[in-house]
Each structure stands twice: as C-alpha cells, then as structure tokens.
C-alpha cells in the first residue's frame, strides 16, 4: 500500500505502544495516548494490536491512495468520506487505487487512530516505531506533512477482512464524567483550600496542551504550604505537577522523565485513554480515589481488554 498526504492535519504522528527502557537516559516513553482505541483500529484490519498506527489529533487529514488496502479507524469520531461518499467507520474500510479518503472535523473526542494492514512503515528506534517529536526519532521523526508518502510495513496484501467494532470495545466519548485521580507524592504540600479546590473546581484544557502535557486552566490557582525547595525526581505520564503559576499540568507520554515541580496527584491509569480524548478548551472535573481502587480498576480494565480482543 502507498498513499500520499493531501492534508496533513496538526501534529499527526506514527505511534505504537511506546519506547520503554530508556527513561534513565531522559528518553520519554512516547507511544499512542489512547491505547484501547489504537488496539481497536489495529484489530479491524487483523494487525497485531501494537502495530504502528497514525495518531491524528484535533482535526482530520486526507490521503490519496496509490494502491488498494484496508484501514481501521477508532478513537475520536468524524465524518469520513471515501471519494466523497460517507463510509462506515464501525467496520474495516477497503480502499482501492486512486481513492481519496477524507477525514472531516471531529464530532467527538480529540485523537483519531488509523491503522493500515501490516502497520505504517517508519523508523524503528530503540525497539519502537513511535515518533519522538523532541528527539526527532522514530516513525517519520516528525509530524506528518503534506505530500508525505505513507507505506505499509508489510506491503503484501493479506486476507481481506470485514470486521465490525464490537459495541463494548468502543469508548463512549460523548458522555462527560469526572476523571479519577490519586494523591501524588507531594499532595500534602497543598494548603487546605487547594487540596479541596483541585477536585471542587472545574478545569479546562489549555490551548498550549500537546503530547508533552495538558495545561489545566482553573478559575482559582492552587497553592502550597511553605516548604523546602524541591529537587527534581522521577515523573511519569498522568502525574499532575504544580508549577509556580498555581495552574496544574498533567504530564503525558512525551513529557520529561524527571521533574522539579510538586507532584500533587496522578490521573488513574484506567482514565488515561479517556483523558487523551478530551479536546482543547473542554471542561473537566476530577474526583479522588485511593490507590487500591485505582490499581484494581486498571488491572480489571487490562484483563477485560485482553479478553475481549481474544474473544473476538
């Protein structure tokens, strides 16, 4: 399969499960932010669930295909047209040579995942095809741009599939619910009002948010009790840091591996895919849970996903 990019969107990148094992050198894990959706896109075309996909944030892209292939689309929802005709994204999509695929504005969610039979071809770096935009390695080493040629890593056309997304594997993105958080190592540094404010006030997703982190904007800033200066210490995706501005930042997969701001909380692992689908300027709320609940919920979510994909 070969396709050329007519419209590249904003910061669309090739991503797989991520680059693990080099955080001690300062290499972030990168990788798809909404893994269940990425897995679902791959499942639609019969790929391994961790095969490299395109992660397309914010707005659609368009591609002109130079050969026939099959695609899977999951995550954010959008009107998708093939040669100006609507296609059903609940199923495996088959395209022919000369077809133009146009992904329109998003209807719900913030990150759309597109798979191709055999996975997208890109540079492998330290065991992963994921794009690291800071280091300029993996995938295309940069975001997608107009006139790029996309290829399948396994060009030989395999079995033609006709799969349909099972209802229970589709993330419900049009329903608003609070995002669950657990206290972080420096949670106790928050003053009395601020620890309550974190869960009581509404936040919106700031416009400077990207794959490194989500900048939260709240009406009132959060403050810490007087404390000794913090020295930098390990952080990970989901950690909510509090910079001096008092407006928290949620670290995502491209973020730093160590950080010097107070780690006041962490988004529960099981809510990270949902968080990744929250669009810029959208309002969100947090609710606190304990670590045992977070742990159990995540293990359950993983088990369920594994079972569902194996069953299908």
């Amino acid at each position: 399969m070969k396709a050329s990019v007519n419209r590249a969107g904003i910061q669309a990148t090739i991503q797989d499960f991520g680059r693990y094992g080099h955080r001690d050198k300062g290499m972030p894990i990168v990788g798809a932010l909404d893994k269940p959706s990425m897995m679902l896109a791959n499942w639609l075309v019969g790929n391994q669930l961790q095969a490299p996909v395109l992660e397309i944030p914010m707005q659609g892209i368009s591609l002109m295909f130079e050969s026939a292939c099959q695609l899977g689309i999951a995550g954010a929802t959008a009107n998708v047209e093939l040669n100006e005709e609507m296609v059903n994204t609940a199923k495996t999509i088959t395209v022919n040579s000369g077809d133009e695929l146009v992904i329109g504005d998003f209807l719900s969610g913030f990150r759309l995942y597109m798979s191709i039979t055999g996975g997208f071809k890109g540079q492998e770096f330290l065991g992963s095809f994921s794009t690291d935009l800071v280091a300029g390695v993996g995938g295309l080493g940069r975001p997608l741009k107009k006139d790029d040629k996309l290829e399948s890593a396994q060009p030989k056309q395999q079995l033609i599939l006709n799969r349909e997304k099972p209802e229970h594997l589709i993330q419900k993105l049009d329903i608003d619910r609070p995002i669950r958080i657990i206290p972080g190592p420096e949670y106790d540094l928050l003053d009395h009002y601020s620890s309550r404010r974190l869960t009581n006030q509404e936040y919106s997703i700031g416009s400077a948010s990207n794959r490194m982190g989500i900048r939260l904007v709240g009406e009132q800033s959060l403050n810490t009790e007087p404390h000794e200066e913090l020295i930098s210490s390990p952080v990970l995706p989901g950690i909510i840091q509090l910079p001096p501005s008092g407006q928290p930042v949620i670290l995502l997969n491209d973020g730093q591996t160590i950080g010097g701001y107070a780690r006041i909380a962490k988004v529960a692992e099981m809510d990270m895919p949902y968080l990744a689908q929250q669009a810029i300027s959208k309002s969100i709320n947090f609710v606190e849970i304990d670590i045992t609940t977070a742990e159990r919920g995540w293990l359950h979510q993983q088990k369920r996903l594994k079972w569902l994909f194996e069953k299908e």
Binding site: Y20, G136, Q256, T257
Partner: protein, 235 residues
C-alpha cells in the same frame, strides 16, 4: 544500607514505586541511589521492567499483574538491607574528558555569569574547566546530564525567561550545576560554551547515549579551531 540512611519506599503510581533518600543534591546520596539501582538491576526482580534514578530518588516501574506493590516493597527492602553503602567511587581512569570551546560566539550568557559572580571571563572558564563532575541524573532532554560538583563561586541562577533556541552541544550553568544540551532546544541555563561531542547520537542505534548516571566527567578547554577539527572528525 537502610539502617544508615533514611530510606522511604512509597507508591508513585499503580505501576511504579519511589525509593527516596534524603531530598538533597549531594554526591554521597546520589552515589547511594546508583548503588541501590545496581543492586536492583542485578536482582532481576520479577515484574520489574525499568529503573529511573534521579538526584536522591529512584523510580521502580513494575507490572502489577506480576507482583503486588506490597511484595515488591518487601523484596526491595531486603535487597537494600543487604547492599552496601556506595564506598567505591569510580577510579580516576573512569573520568571522561569532554572538550569545551568557550569562545564568545558559543557563550551568549557569559556576561550574565560575569555580572552575577564578579569574576572575569578567564576566571569563570578556569574554574569551570578545572572541576570534576558527576552525572547526577539524565533528563529534561534525551541524554541531558545534570552535572554536580561545580565550583560554587561560579553558580548563577537559571534565566527567568528561557531562551527559545539553544544550540545542541551548548554547555550551561543552572544554579550550582552545569549541564550540556544534547539537542537544540529552548532552555533557561546560562550558556558559556559548546562541546563538539554528541551526547545523543540517534544514528547510533546500539549506544545512542554518551553518558550514564554516576559517570565522572571533566572539561578540557579547547580553541575554536580544535572545536572545528573535532566536529569534522566526527562526521
């Protein structure tokens, strides 16, 4: 080790523990973090897949479906109890020499450091290039070393408004530490020179990083001509 140090092990997330020593930037504490890291690495604990050290703490990433936090904490405590304080500092042969060119063109913030310290340029270069440094941690950018052990007299606070574009190889002073930008990036450290060696070599897929935590480093002042020769020889 645990009897002599105030060691705390807490949960950082559903899948990571944090082993913390006294929260200080100090060579002995940092060497102990490295010693704990090495013992844990050698122990090949079930479910543990990544260790990330920093100044005075260490993140232990594990798979909660293979080991529970409680059991892992107990295992780590046993290992730490049986490991020794890091008494062996690397020998002198293990010191890596990094060439640095301090020419004006590569030192946009030299004047800021001069103003802050009251030293001449020559004095700052002398003190910076005569020190012996330790890689306390890597982070901020792939392969960026936070080097401790700088002469305190040439400390200079980070810039409040970070520079938008710092060239790859730039050597900077950030507070009481010095560091090297492996890639072009925005940043707040005071840039006083440039190293021609590549700290992050993405085309070397086997060993893309020049430095690792615990490495001892010294700087060697080089001229602009030597800088160019070194740079060319690396191509």
């Amino acid at each position: 080790l645990s009897k002599q140090q105030n060691i705390q092990i807490t949960q950082l997330s559903e899948a990571a523990l944090l082993v913390s020593l006294e929260s200080k930037i100090n060579p002995a504490i940092n060497a102990n973090i490295n010693a704990i890291r090495k013992s844990l690495e050698e122990a090949h604990l079930k479910g543990v897949h990544e260790l990330v050290p920093s100044y005075s703490s260490l993140a232990v990433f594990y798979k909660p479906n293979e080991i529970t936090a409680k059991n892992l904490i107990a295992e780590i405590e046993t290992i730490i109890d049986n490991s020794l304080l890091a008494k062996e500092f690397p020998t002198k042969e293990d010191i890596l020499t990094l060439p640095v060119c301090y020419t004006d063109e590569f030192a946009p913030d030299m004047e800021r450091v001069m103003k802050h310290t009251g030293f001449t340029k020559e004095e700052i270069i002398k003190r910076h290039s005569e020190g012996e440094y330790r890689v306390y941690q890597l982070g901020f950018l792939p392969g960026f070393p936070f080097l401790g052990g700088m002469d305190k007299a040439i400390s200079c606070p980070r810039k409040k408004i970070p520079a938008l574009k710092i060239a790859g190889g730039s050597v900077g002073i950030g507070g009481a530490q010095t560091g090297i930008y492996p890639l072009q990036s925005p940043g707040g450290w005071n840039i006083i020179g440039r190293c021609p060696l590549k700290l992050f070599r993405p085309d070397n897929t086997i060993a893309p990083f020049l430095l690792s935590m615990g490495q001892l480093v010294r700087f060697k002042k080089i001229s602009i001509d030597q800088f160019r020769v070194t740079k060319t020889s690396l191509l």
